[in-house]
């Protein structure tokens, strides 16, 4: 009856927040009504101590989304099997409702570069990414979501549109997609594309989660606008509008507010979540009214 609810996520179609260590005490004390919490997998790959104790307490109260930032799915070198084993152990221990990673690379022979680096969209990178997504899903024993990147450059040898690239990886591997609406805005402005057209073309039926964040703005060498995916400020007005457009098209989807730098007091994050939740609520009322008319 509800074709727009994706099978790709068990997260509630509500607003969630990134879990920050400095907020854990307040969250456990006040148990705010937050749809879910998301953590970066690598921050919980220590052997023990306070991080695991905190995450255990959170998981006992809230749905969890696990977001990896270090798998380097687009790397030319093979995936790190030790890292896959750590991911598997984390997933088995905390049973997150969703596991996601990025369409990017970050490892190299010289080490881990700690940034989400861009890929040319070619047939050979598509094969490599799809093979790696297969391997990840086998290793962790569940479906993953693959996130669209924010990028600052293009590659001359790209031959595939980013949306087609993501859709073909998803079709071949059965993975779901994570649609980062801020990344759509950042990349569209940076590459002179239309962000609304991007959303209109995106295979929203494969989307299991949405990300929202704030960007910074600067200029490139020619004075063109250059947006930076900075996660250090409220969601901007243009991204909020693009988000409403996305939800209008896709229906209510689990939506994360990402705020990783200059993390504010927890109530500021709650207010950001409430803004997204209002968009989701209006989409839900609209959907319910439509279903009621049909009945």
């Amino acid at each position: 009856m509800n074709a727009i609810t994706p099978s790709t996520s068990l997260l509630p179609a509500r607003a969630g927040l990134g879990l920050k260590p400095e907020h854990v005490g307040e969250i456990l004390d006040t148990e705010p009504d937050v749809g879910f919490f998301e953590v970066h997998a690598e921050n919980y790959m220590g052997d023990g101590g306070a991080p695991h104790r905190a995450l255990g307490e959170i998981v006992a109260r809230y749905p969890l989304s696990l977001h990896g930032v270090g798998l380097s799915i687009g790397a030319e070198r093979p995936l790190d099997t030790a890292h896959l084993a750590r991911l598997r152990a984390l997933i088995d221990r905390y049973r997150p409702r969703s596991f996601s990673e990025h369409l990017a690379w970050s490892t190299h022979e010289s080490g881990f570069l700690n940034d989400l680096l861009p890929l040319p969209y070619t047939e050979s990178t598509l094969r490599r990414v799809a093979d790696n997504v297969d391997q990840v899903q086998q290793a962790v024993g569940r479906q993953m979501l693959l996130e669209n990147p924010s990028t600052y450059i293009l590659f001359e040898d790209s031959t595939i549109h980013e949306i087609d690239f993501l859709e073909r990886v998803a079709a071949r591997t059965g993975c779901g997609l994570l649609l980062d609406v801020n990344n759509v805005m950042v990349s569209a402005v940076n590459h002179r594309a239309d962000p609304f057209a991007y959303i209109d073309r995106f295979p929203v039926e494969r989307v299991g989660e949405i990300h929202l964040a704030g960007y910074d703005e600067t200029m490139d060498g020619a004075g063109d606008r250059l947006l930076i995916d900075a996660h250090g400020s409220p969601v901007s007005d243009d991204v909020s509008a693009l988000y409403r457009h996305t939800i209008d098209r896709a229906g209510p989807l689990p939506t994360l507010i990402e705020w990783d730098n200059d993390v504010p007091a927890f109530p500021v994050l709650l207010a950001e979540a409430a803004r997204a939740e209002a968009v989701l609520d209006s989409a839900k009322s609209w959907r319910d009214a439509r279903l009621a008319r049909r009945a």
Partner: protein, 93 residues
């Protein structure tokens, strides 16, 4: 000190230490705090402030990557650290 003497000395020393600390009777592990008060100098840290960096998928617009030619001298609180009575020891490199 031969092995036998050492063994006895160590055991005696341990028994004596137990006898002279704040408690003589066996205590559960969580009560060990009594001993801590009289052992070593406890330094207090700011809880989790040094928990180590977390990963993030965020970028930054603070451009500071280019300073390869760099002539900085230490200019933090090291000037308050007295080495052999001399305040600081800073000179340009």
């Amino acid at each position: 000190m031969n092995r036998q003497t050492l063994a006895l000395a160590l055991a005696g020393s341990l028994v004596s230490a137990f006898a002279t600390t704040a408690y003589a009777a066996p205590l559960p592990a969580e009560k060990m705090v009594g001993m801590e008060k009289c052992y070593g100098i406890a330094l207090k840290g700011q809880n989790d402030c040094a928990a180590g960096a977390g990963t993030t998928c965020a970028g930054t617009s603070t451009m500071d990557y280019q300073a390869n030619a760099w002539k900085a001298v230490p200019a933090g609180t090291c000037t308050s650290m007295e080495v052999n009575g001399h305040m600081g020891m800073l000179k340009p490199m």
